[in-house]
Amino acid sequence: MLSSGINVLFEGSNMQRLLGGLLITAQIAFISIIISSLLGIVVGLMMTLKSRVLQFVFRFYLEAFRIIPILVWLFFVYFGVTNMLDIHLDGEIVAVVVFSLWGAAEMGDIVRGALESLPKHQMESGKALGLSFWQLYRFVLIPQAVRRMLPGAINLSTRMVKTTSLVVMIGVIDVVKVGQQIIERSIIDFPAASFWIYGLIFILYFIICYPLSILSKKMEMKWES
């Protein structure tokens, strides 16, 4: 009975739709991770400058994303902010905005930690060579920090991929939503549909996230040798 249920995956355009949903999930996650990484470097860098005001602002920013559930952020921007400004924003755009802001805050904290963990004399010997502020970060500090922040950054990325499943709540049809739709429609003909559909989604998430951890292992090994 279970084995016959597997056919639900190949009924009509089911597989195509599931992969389409996956593409949306991957798109939101991928774009958000890229933006987060870029913004995160800027945020992290600013947090290492000895400005109390900046430190306070970024601390507050980070805590805001840690304390308030991401779902509430999604609702707040999708319904609240758009309503207030009297505009309409696509659910996908809202998702990218919220995930990017969240990612930038977390990534900023990871970058800050990595920069602060570098020995102080690295900065000084760079300065003593006459490197400018930007050259110091670009050639000396950031390349070393990247190695130290990699495990944290990859971990954050997989968390972001997983959290994209919340976007159904603001009307985005992601892979999980497509799965639900298919199950609802096929449950009569295929009583085991949920097992196979969710099983596939299970594997799909694994396929997105696993390469990330492979990548981080590879890079760590390369840098260690």
Binding site: S125, L129, L131, Q135, P143, R147
Partner: protein, 248 residues
């Protein structure tokens, strides 16, 4: 002798405080071109701080430092430019661990001075050869011993063609067996006429390399003398006590 050369670095009434605590007080010192000044003094007397003030790693609270007659306390002073003329080597191995030996050496000349890579590479190879490490140019710092790292750090600073070199206890963290190879390099530089300010605890080396000994005690210059005189017949009681510690 070297006193006839022009003054390269002049320190006038320099004062440095951390909070309310003075660390350097009324330091006056003229360093002539080609002169080797060795700074001695017990731990915590302010030797490192003095060197760090000279290339702007520490701010100063009073007095003035002049490099070739130009004041470094001027508001418009361009430290990136000044630091190209003042090479510094620290006690800790301060090579950049993510770069090879050659990349470490090329960074300053190519990015800061915008010199052509080929020309810098030739100079770097010559300098590496002179310190006996040309065959290690593609190694990473972690593949080198402490003494080798310090010799590379010296080459890296030299490749900027500085007017003056500052050495802050560059052998203090080294295994005794490796001290010699590093000191030999510095001695070689002295013979070539490099202007240097050297902080060290190696008294034999100080005596051999110095044109002038500056003895600092509690942030003040206590005695300035020629090495022979300083080691055989120190004028101040503090210097005598300091030298006694090294006599076993």
């Amino acid at each position: 002798m070297k006193g006839n050369n022009k003054v390269l670095l002049e320190i006038v009434g320099l004062r440095k405080t951390y909070g309310a605590r003075p660390v350097l007080d009324d330091i006056n010192l003229s360093i002539h071109k080609g002169e080797v000044v060795v700074v001695l003094g017990s731990s915590g007397c302010g030797k490192s701080t003095l060197l760090r003030c000279l290339n702007g790693l520490e701010s100063i609270q009073g007095g003035d430092i002049k490099l070739s007659g130009k004041s470094l306390t001027d508001k418009n002073v361009n430290w990136q430019e000044v630091r190209q003329q003042i090479g510094m080597v620290f006690q800790n191995y301060d090579l950049f661990p993510h770069m090879t030996v050659m990349e470490n050496i090329l960074l300053g000349p190519s990015k800061v001075q915008k010199r052509a890579e080929k020309e810098v590479m030739e100079q770097a190879s010559q300098l590496l050869d002179r310190v006996g490490l040309l065959n290690r140019k593609d190694d990473y710092p972690r593949q080198l011993s402490g003494g080798q790292k310090q010799r590379i750090a010296i080459v890296r600073a030299l490749c900027m063609n500085p007017e003056i070199m500052l050495f802050d206890e560059v052998t203090a963290a080294l295994d005794p067996e490796m001290v010699r190879e590093v000191l030999d390099v510095i001695l070689g530089l002295a013979k070539q006429g490099m202007t240097m300010v050297i902080v060290t605890h190696e008294m034999g080396f100080a005596k051999a390399v110095a044109d002038c000994i500056v003895f600092i005690d509690a942030g003040k210059i206590c005695e300035i003398a020629e090495p022979d005189e300083f080691f055989s017949n120190p004028k101040t009681e503090r210097a005598r006590q300091f030298l006694n510690i090294f006599q076993y």
